[in-house]
């Protein structure tokens, strides 16, 4: 257990104490106690940032389940460090923000909120710092769980519960898929360690030919795509906006949804350089990018705009990672990876600040509906300033960091078209086009957010509260983030070799010394013209918004893909209902029918498989006329039983069957057996009659012909199979026979038991105990029946 292990576990340990803080210091907002933790962790992590020297990769091991090769092993490299800093840094700001956002009311369950939040923080740190796939999976699902608990924080709202369930089902399903992918990797490589897998693949280059390679890749990507809200799994993210805004800012824009990005980046050294990886990630990323940005146009809820914007930006980063994976073959694509990492940081800063701003607007005006808002510029000047920075950065305007990464994004897609691999030469022209169109829409929704909220007419009559500027506490966190937007925009190179380069080395381990220099002015190049076009066309879109909104293809405010989710769930329930109704009738006869049919099929198949149907009548004894008569009578009696309506008659016919069997024994010259059978049968019939005499009448039921037919087929089938088994078993003997067990009794009756009647000797001596107990059982049964009959009798009656 090292300090880094403790770093991951610290939030969980803290979570245990939160309820005590909550109960013990009810008057102090619980958030103040929590705040110290992420801040401390952040400061601790800062010391790992390399300044002027290469990053020291830290590895710490701790056994967990050694026999299955699972260890809680920490691996801290550039990529992990970047994410860990984001998690703790944004975490600090979000906790601070939440203290002012969620008021310490009497029945506000703050303890739950902070327990879930800390649980998330620890789990997320676990995801990015662990080297073992199983451990990553465990933490991964914990983040899903925490996320859905936080979405359902205000669970009395129906929409919160819907959103929580949806995010849970989608992300947990993705997580399961990812686990399956991990297992496949384990099967190929024999290790759960990511670094182990990377070096395994580096050593045996031919691994791409493995049959499991592609399934493993797809399953892992399923996990990444569901978590990072990639098309078509993005539908959970807009519904997750029911969570309190600090949660949306933290989980659903800055950190958790980037776990998928992390996973893809982490696995790039494993899968990168294959056409499947390149095309799947790039195309899903681009599709998400454009789908998200167009959908955002239709939204009227500020948070919904941000949600779709997040989806679209995640698509952007994903697409960059996909394009960048080509740099395993051609280093032209390296810039895409740099852009991805840089944009990841930028997105966290500007989107975080924007979420917080929207939270403030919601908090101070009581609504997030852009149709009700307007003219807040004068009323909330600080909020306005923060949001203009955030929005400009998101729109990709200079001098903010969003501009820089957007330019790099354009560079990335343009460079990618020059690639000469994976058929990019034929389809690559799509990349810049999609990127450009999506950017136009991005610019347009940025304008919507800005103008609809802050300019125009102030409409106090539509607002629930009288709007005024937010308290300073609520403003600190967005101010910090907005200043970062400006600082990173003006001095991007402070990140180049401290954060970006180490992170890049984790993604592209073979690039030893990348040149990263980020600056604003590149001259009049294609990227700049693309940006100018974006601004122009984006403005056009915004000005014609009404028309656009009427015609924007088929997209509604609610994503049409939701229909598949809702319909899928309904279909599942309906299907389940159908399966239930089909077999769970509650009727024994149906249960029997299913069992018998299954047995008939199984046994029939076995017959067929071994070609086992065999008849062998060689050593069959002669059948006398008596035997024929008895057998035929026996069959007739058996068949007639189901047709008899009257119960007493049926019992008597069953008795007849027994007596006929007794006759069979007579014919086979076994008089003692016949005698026993006769006696037993007589007792049975009498007991039966006595019993049934006192039971109520049978319910008369009439059945459809089809039902009767099915039953007939099943029973004939079962009979036929069993008969066949008997014949075939007989034939399989090939005339072999075991020594009959009677031989033992023939030899030993006199010497051991001193009796000459063998059957008697068996009954009273060799199997004496059996006989005694059998008699006992019969006696008990008879007593029971007498007791039952007595229950029914009136006073003074006698049997």
């Amino acid at each position: 257990m090292s300090t880094l292990h403790l770093l991951v576990l610290a939030p969980f340990i803290m979570a245990i104490f939160v309820p005590f803080f909550y109960k013990g210091f009810r008057r102090i907002h619980t958030g103040w106690f929590v705040l110290a933790l992420p801040l401390l962790l952040f400061i601790y992590l800062l010391r790992f940032i390399p300044i002027g020297e290469p990053l020291q990769v830290v590895k710490e091991t701790m056994d967990w389940v050694p026999s299955l090769g699972i260890g809680f092993n920490i691996y801290l490299d550039g990529l992990s460090l970047l994410f860990a800093l984001l998690i703790t840094g944004i975490g600090t700001l979000v906790v601070l923000y939440s203290i002012f956002y969620i008021a310490n009311k009497k029945d506000e369950p703050l303890n739950n909120f902070y327990v879930y939040l800390l649980m998330f923080m620890g789990a997320m740190l676990g995801v990015v710092l662990s080297d073992n796939l199983i451990v990553i999976y465990v933490f991964w699902e914990l983040t899903s769980l925490a996320s859905s608990l936080l979405i359902a924080y205000w669970f009395h709202k129906e929409k919160s519960r819907y959103g929580a369930q949806k995010s849970m089902l989608i992300t947990v399903t993705g997580g399961f898929a990812m686990l399956a992918g991990f297992c496949l990797l384990y099967i190929m490589t024999g290790t759960f360690s990511i670094q182990g897998i990377i070096s395994f693949f580096a050593e045996s280059g031919a691994i791409f030919n493995e049959a499991l390679f592609l399934p493993a890749m797809i399953l892992i990507l399923l996990g990444a795509f569901t978590k990072s809200a990639q098309f078509p799994f993005h539908i959970w993210l807009p519904d997750a906006m029911e969570a309190p805004t600090p949660v949306s800012a933290y989980l659903h824009s800055a950190t958790m949804v980037k776990a998928g990005i992390y996973l893809v980046a982490r696995f790039t050294p494993v899968f990168g350089g294959t056409p499947e990886w390149f095309w799947i990630i790039t195309s899903f990323g681009l599709l998400t990018l454009i789908w998200g940005s167009i959908s955002a146009i239709r939204q009227v809820d500020l948070k919904a705009i941000l949600a779709f914007s997040t989806i679209s930006q995640l698509g952007l980063i994903m697409a960059l990672l996909g394009l960048g994976s080509a740099s395993f073959i051609d280093n032209v694509a390296e810039v895409a990876i740099i852009a991805a990492i840089f944009h990841l940081i930028n997105h966290a800063t500007f989107k975080g600040s924007l979420f917080m701003v929207v939270g403030i607007v919601d908090h101070e005006t009581g609504t997030r509906d852009i149709r009700k808002l307007g003219g807040l510029m004068a009323i909330m000047p600080i909020t306005f300033t923060i949001s203009i920075i955030g929005i400009a950065s998101m729109a990709g305007l200079p001098p903010f960091n969003g501009f820089l990464s957007k330019e790099m994004f354009f560079t990335g897609v343009l460079e990618a078209t020059t690639l000469n691999i994976f058929n990019v030469q034929t389809l690559g022209f799509i990349f810049p086009i999609v990127a450009w169109i999506a950017s136009v829409f991005t610019f347009a929704y940025c304008m919507i957010m800005f103008f609809k909220t802050f300019t125009g007419k102030y409409q106090p009559e539509k607002l629930e509260k009288k709007a005024h500027e937010a308290p300073i506490g609520l403003l600190i966190s967005p101010i910090v983030l907005a200043s970062l937007v400006v600082i990173f925009g003006l001095f991007p190179n402070m990140l180049s070799y401290t954060i970006i380069e180490p992170a890049m080395q984790s993604v592209l381990p073979y690039v030893s010394d990348p040149y990263i220099n980020i600056y604003h002015w590149h001259g009049f190049n294609a990227e700049l013209f693309m940006t100018i076009g974006v601004v122009l066309f984006g403005t056009v879109v915004f000005l014609n918004l009404k028309r656009w909104q009427e015609t924007t293809f088929f997209l509604h405010e609610r994503d049409p893909l939701n229909r598949f989710y809702d319909g899928g769930l309904e279909g599942l329930v309906a299907g389940s209902q159908r399966v239930t109704n089909l077999q769970l009738t509650g009727l024994l006869r149906d249960y029997f029918a299913y069992m018998m049919v299954f047995m008939i099929l199984l046994l029939g198949w076995t017959f067929f498989r071994y070609d086992a149907v065999a008849f062998n009548f060689v050593d069959v004894s002669e059948i006398s006329p008596y035997l024929w008569i008895i057998t035929l009578a026996l069959i007739a009696a058996t068949i007639s039983v189901p047709f008899i309506q009257h119960r007493v008659t049926a019992i008597i016919v069953v008795g007849v069957i027994g007596f006929l069997i007794a006759l069979l024994f007579v014919v086979f010259r076994a008089p003692d057996l016949a005698l026993t059978q006769l006696l037993v049968e007589t007792v049975m019939v009498v007991l039966f009659l006595l019993c049934f005499y006192h039971l109520p009448e049978l319910r008369k039921e009439s059945f459809k012909a089809r039902f009767k037919m099915t039953n007939l087929i099943i029973s004939v089938g079962m009979g036929a199979i069993v008969t066949l088994i008997a014949f075939s078993a007989h034939a399989a003997r090939h005339g072999l026979s075991f020594e009959p067990i009677s031989q033992y009794f023939v030899e030993n009756s006199v010497p051991l038991a001193g009796g000459y009647n063998m059957v008697n000797v068996i009954l009273v001596d060799f199997r004496g105990l059996d006989t005694m107990l059998e008699v006992l059982v019969l006696g008990v049964a008879a007593l029971g029946i007498v007791a039952l009959i007595k229950l029914k009798m009136k006073e003074g009656q006698d049997i």
Binding site: D63, L142, R161, V172, C183, L584, L603, S728
Partner: protein, 484 residues
């Protein structure tokens, strides 16, 4: 072989349990028919725990004349089963106090006889012993299922159980008779020595007997299509009996499936294994799909548990079907059995508490449980998440182990089915959790006070579920190295 020079001491635990059961039975007679008899419950728990300790002390390997065998396998299963029954009785004590129409003494002694039957089963090395143990367990279960005599559902369930169970026994006996006919012996060990050569001569008959026995055992462990009794019986039975059926009965069934199939039906070099492994794989697939799919729409918590139990049986079949390393599969199954016992019994303890409090056994009785008793609601969630196989619960470790070993063995499609159905199962477990946390309690449901016995059971089960989930190495490292 003679009865006098056999090593009867191997049977000490069974004999002790039998005697104690009879003692409790007798005390019951002496203390009147009706009335509350908590002391009998406590005595039963002590009897079971004493027996478990004896099993542990007596764990050395040995056999009695090839009909009774004591080895790691039987010792482990016996301890699991005895602890399981003890927990069930702890749950019942609360239940019986609430239901005056149940004769308490008989209930406890029947439970003990059932435990005895289960012990005999897992220790049997002979088909006849096995059958006697099985019937002792089954007949006790039939009686227990119908224990609420005046309740229609209970009676109906019990009758169905008897009829279908009888049929299953017939299947088993029919299958056994083929084996006896072929070999002239009923000893599992003797049969296993000649089965390979018999298979060469009479493949059809050997496979036929395997199939019949599989069908019969399949009924006891409620796998599709022999599962239909489960929901009806589970719903009708008194809740602790439902717990008993879904845990003890099932685990004991699995123990004999393992014993018979991995001892007798492997054949040399596993020639026979190839014959039935695919059948088990198919049954496992159908079981997982049907069990999970039907569980989706259940509104009654006991029926839900019945179907989730069917699905869990499907998961447990996977290692049998997928891995041709008996010792390894047994290890996996033993781990999952332990986990399953605690998760299920923990859940049933809470189900008993909640349904007896409200008098209903549909989901609505769980609504707002978090407000009424936070501890119970959280514990229940942990058990359900464990059954669903989410991380940090023992259920995850068990399932992941099964999953990994199936995938490793190359049965990817089986692992795939397991994966997809686990996702489905997540949906219905989550439904119950949602009910507990996100719905308001019914107006007349007040704060729920748990009696001591239930609290103890829940706490133990919770501790095991979480400890084995967080530190599975404690158990796995130990299980994985035993040669079962």
């Amino acid at each position: 072989m003679s009865a006098y020079n056999a090593n009867w001491s191997l049977m000490t635990p069974e004999i002790v349990l039998g005697i104690l059961a009879l003692v409790i039975f007798t005390i019951d007679f002496m203390t009147g028919v009706k009335g509350k008899k908590p002391f009998l419950g406590r005595m039963s728990i002590i009897a079971l725990l004493v027996t478990a300790v004896l099993v542990y002390i007596n764990r050395g390997a040995g056999t009695i004349a090839d009909i009774f065998i004591v080895d790691h396998f039987s010792t482990m299963f016996k301890i699991i089963l005895l602890v399981g029954v003890a927990i069930v009785i702890a749950i019942s004590m609360h239940y019986l106090d609430k239901n005056d129409d149940v004769y308490q003494g008989e209930f406890y002694s029947l439970m003990l006889f059932a435990a005895l039957g289960a012990m005999l089963m897992v220790s049997s090395a002979d088909l006849i012993t096995l059958y006697i143990g099985l019937e002792l367990l089954s007949i006790s279960s039939y009686c227990l299922a119908g224990f609420k005599k005046h309740n229609r559902k209970s009676t109906e369930g019990a009758i169905k159980y008897v009829v279908l169970g009888g049929t299953a026994s017939a299947f088993i006996l029919y299958g056994m008779s083929f084996l006896y006919g072929l070999t002239g012996t009923t000893s599992i060990i003797d049969i296993s020595q000649v089965i390979s050569s018999l298979y060469v001569d009479y493949p059809f008959i050997v496979v036929m007997s395997i199939l019949f026995m599989l069908a019969g055992f399949g009924f006891k462990i409620s796998i599709v299509p022999f599962h239909m009794w489960a929901p009806d019986v589970y719903e009708g039975s008194p809740t602790p009996v439902t717990a008993f059926l879904s845990v003890v009965s099932k685990i004991a069934g699995f123990a004999i499936v393992l014993r018979v199939f991995f001892t007798t039906f492997l054949g040399s070099e596993g020639v026979l294994y190839d014959e039935w492994t695919w059948i088990i794989a198919i049954i496992a697939t159908v079981t997982m799909i049907v069990g999970n799919l039907i569980a989706l729409t259940q509104k009654n918590i006991k029926r839900l548990m019945a179907y989730s139990g069917v699905a869990q049986a499907g998961y447990l079949l996977v290692p049998i079907a997928a891995i041709f390393i008996p010792s390894y599969s047994i290890g996996v199954i033993i781990f999952y059995s332990i986990v399953y016992v605690f998760m299920t019994l923990g859940a049933f303890a809470i189900i008993t508490l909640v349904t007896e409090d409200s008098g209903r056994d549909d989901f609505s009785s769980f609504s707002g449980l978090y407000k009424r008793s936070p501890y119970m609601a959280i514990a229940m969630s942990v058990f359900l998440l464990g059954l669903a196989g989410l991380p940090l619960t023992a259920g995850f470790v068990g399932k992941a182990w099964i999953f990994i070993s199936a995938a490793q063995a190359g049965m990817l499609w089986l692992a795939g089915v397991m994966f997809v159905t686990s996702v489905i199962s997540f949906y219905y477990y989550f439904g119950v959790i949602k009910q507990m946390f996100m719905n308001e309690p019914n107006p007349n449901d007040v704060e729920l006070k748990a009696p001591l016995s239930i609290s103890v059971v829940v706490t133990i089960a919770l501790a095991v579920t979480i400890i084995l989930g967080v530190l599975p190495g404690l158990m796995i490292d130990w299980i994985a190295y035993i040669q079962w």
